[in-house]
């Protein structure tokens, strides 16, 4: 047997005074970390199989379990961390590219946490949202540059198609295949109840979900999986995915093991065949090419649906956004480097892209400077974690935000970051029938509705504090923000003053 260089990352601690050997931990762990040997007094565990997903901890009826970080350590080294050493060992034994799930967990600055919001005091008094009306509704789409009149002098309706949302939040693209049918149903039902939109991702739209079309964004990515005219016309908007925050510059790869049954049918590819989305769209090599695709999609849908172009936040994001704003797209979605994924090469996820806060501020400013901000709405994503992040994003210039990771957390995800294993114990990032049934959409959709209802209240409270009664008045209102612990350059890019200034 070869030497196993990597010691278990976590330790499962079982309080044997409290464990009643009900074996719920055993039958709920798809990684088989818990087991019961006949004749033994206690349920046993194999720490090396634990991914720290907390399924057992959450279900243990006597609270007998906890997972702790394994105390086993290599010799202290500020340069070679335990994680770096383990990853190197893993590659030395496998020869493969490291894969990871969910967003970049590394210790880069989180600019949202360095922004503080304003509140009014004596002048422009604050508003109590429980007593006074407060508007969180937003419209997304291109705004006409000027008023047009007919020969009688009446105003012509030259408004391009708009998306109407009850609050500035949408569920970001997560494909059926990368997440389960039940997770998709939860998102779709929640979007319908909340009056917002969810996004199919690049996996096509399951036939059962066409009824949620009014609350669906259908996505087209480089693999073109599941795309046909009915699909394109069934949603409220079409999104062209050029890039993803978790893995800018590379495509996608859904392993054949997840392409089973309905997933295969919905994607229109054979069962067991890997779904590989190429890094580029093979028909897009310039903004002019992108414009062709935007208008092809508009033609197919008779100019009734807004077209979104989604890009990853990278170094020259504002120049790219400027091109997109001239391509005929109605909405630009920008995904920051913290954005989630079902699977990405670890090195790409952790080292490519830029923070969404900086990308948003520079894109908004660039589009304003060029006088084309009205051409498009700007949606941002890539780790929007709370209602405060939303308020800050809107004040920085976003029209709306995408939430993906936050939505999955509401569904039970514990950020164990092993989505790529296909054995999600919470029934989200898996296609195994025994696991997907753990995600009961009746519970899931309600939890999503609860989360966003709570966020909506909080957004109103924060706006009220600033003396603002409509989200439109907050949009791009950077005077409502102050920075803490930021240098001159960061403040300049964010377009805000330092706290106290």
């Amino acid at each position: 047997m070869p030497i196993n260089y990597i010691y278990s990352e976590y330790e499962i601690v079982r309080n044997s005074d409290r464990c009643i050997n009900c074996r719920a931990c055993e039958n709920q762990c798809a990684n088989e970390a818990h087991y019961f040997a006949e004749g033994s007094e206690n349920t046993l565990c194999d720490d090396s199989k634990c991914v720290n997903c907390h399924r057992c901890v959450s279900l243990c009826p006597t609270h007998a379990l906890k997972i702790i970080k394994n105390g086993n350590t290599y010799k202290d080294n500020a340069n070679w961390s335990d994680r770096t050493i383990n990853e190197l060992y893993r590659q030395a034994s496998s020869g493969g590219v490291l894969l990871s799930g969910m967003g970049n967990p590394e210790n880069y600055p989180v600019y949202f946490d360095k922004l503080l919001l304003n509140a009014s005091q004596v002048t422009n008094p604050s508003i109590d949202p429980l007593r006074e009306p407060m508007e969180t509704k937003v419209s997304l789409g291109s705004r006409p540059g000027e008023i047009e009149r007919d020969e009688k002098g009446c105003i012509k309706n030259n408004l391009p198609p708009q998306l109407s949302l009850s609050m500035p939040v949408m569920f970001s693209a997560m494909s059926y295949g990368s997440i389960s049918y039940n997770a998709h149903e939860s998102l779709a039902r929640a979007a319908q109840e909340l009056g917002i939109l969810y996004n199919t991702g690049e996996g096509g739209l399951h036939e059962d979900f066409y009824k949620y079309g009014g609350n669906t964004i259908v996505q087209i990515a480089s693999g073109r999986f599941g795309v046909h005219p009915q699909y394109l016309s069934s949603g409220a908007a079409i999104e062209i995915k050029m890039g993803q925050g978790a893995k800018p510059g590379i495509g996608g790869h859904l392993p054949g093991t997840k392409i089973v049954g309905d997933v295969s049918r919905t994607r229109m590819i054979p069962e067991g065949c890997d779904a590989i989305s190429p890094a580029p769209h093979h028909d897009i090599y310039s903004i002019e090419d992108l414009r062709q695709l935007v208008y092809s999609l508009k033609e197919v849908t008779e100019y009734k649906k807004p077209v979104i172009v989604k890009i990853a936040a990278v170094h020259n994001v504002s120049a790219i956004a400027s091109g997109i704003a001239r391509s005929g797209a109605d909405i630009i979605a920008i995904d920051g480097f913290r954005g989630g994924t079902g699977a990405a090469p670890t090195r790409i996820r952790d080292n490519v892209g830029i923070p969404i806060e900086l990308a948003l501020a520079s894109v908004d400013q660039r589009l304003r400077d060029e006088g084309i901000r009205g051409n498009v709405s700007v949606v941002i994503g890539g780790s929007v974690r709370s209602s405060a992040d939303i308020v800050k994003a809107v004040a920085l210039g976003a029209d709306c935000v995408y939430i993906g990771t936050a939505a999955l957390l509401a569904l039970g995800c514990h950020l164990c970051r092993t989505c790529h294993s296909g054995k999600c114990n919470w029934g989200i990032a898996t296609q195994m029938p025994t696991l997907t049934k753990r995600m009961n959409p009746d519970i899931g959709y309600k939890r999503l509705v609860n989360l966003l209802t709570a966020w909506k209240h909080e957004i109103k409270e924060m706006m009220g504090g600033m003396g603002i009664n409509s989200i439109e008045s907050l949009k791009g209102n950077r005077l409502m923000l102050r920075g803490v612990g930021l240098n001159e350059k960061e403040l300049e890019i964010l377009g805000i003053k330092h706290a106290g200034g």
Binding site: I20, T62, K437, N440
Partner: protein
């Protein structure tokens, strides 16, 4: 009347319903204390075969065969809930044999036992329903 219903589609076979049931019957406020080292004595039972699992408990039939077969009148109906009077039960287990669902079983003490919708427990509402992590067991009035 409100009854306990099980939806096989969402049953995970985790058996937590059995333990919450046994805990409710045992009483007390700490499950670890109540069930540590004890073989759980539950009125609801998971039937499992391969990937299919299903919790089985009393359906409180309108025409309850257990009740009809009871030789001492220990089984009775109160507000639709079929219950056993342990004082009168002589442990002949005719009810156990008659129940077509296998929902009546002998208790460790002798008398027959079955789900009584937790009406006699401290909480007063079915513990299996509360304990189910996936809402596979529900307490609903379906007009039956």
């Amino acid at each position: 009347m409100k009854k306990v219903y099980v939806n096989e589609k969402w049953c995970l076979g985790c058996r937590l319903c059995e333990y919450y049931c046994a805990f409710a019957a045992a009483g007390g406020n700490d499950m670890a204390k109540a069930l540590k080292g004890v073989k759980p004595n539950s009125r609801i039972k998971i039937e499992k075969h391969g990937d299919i699992s299903f919790a089985v408990s009393c359906r409180h039939c309108k025409e309850a065969l257990c009740l009809r077969g009871c030789i001492t009148g220990a089984l009775g109906v109160t507000d639709g809930v079929v219950a056993i009077d342990h004082e009168r039960c002589v442990s002949c287990y005719t009810c156990v044999l008659l129940c077509p669902y296998g929902a009546v079983s002998p208790s460790p003490e002798g008398p027959a036992q079955k789900c009584e919708l937790c009406v006699k427990t401290t909480d007063g509402s079915p513990a299996c329903v509360k304990g189910c992590p996936n809402r596979a067991i529900v307490f609903e009035d379906r007009g039956e």
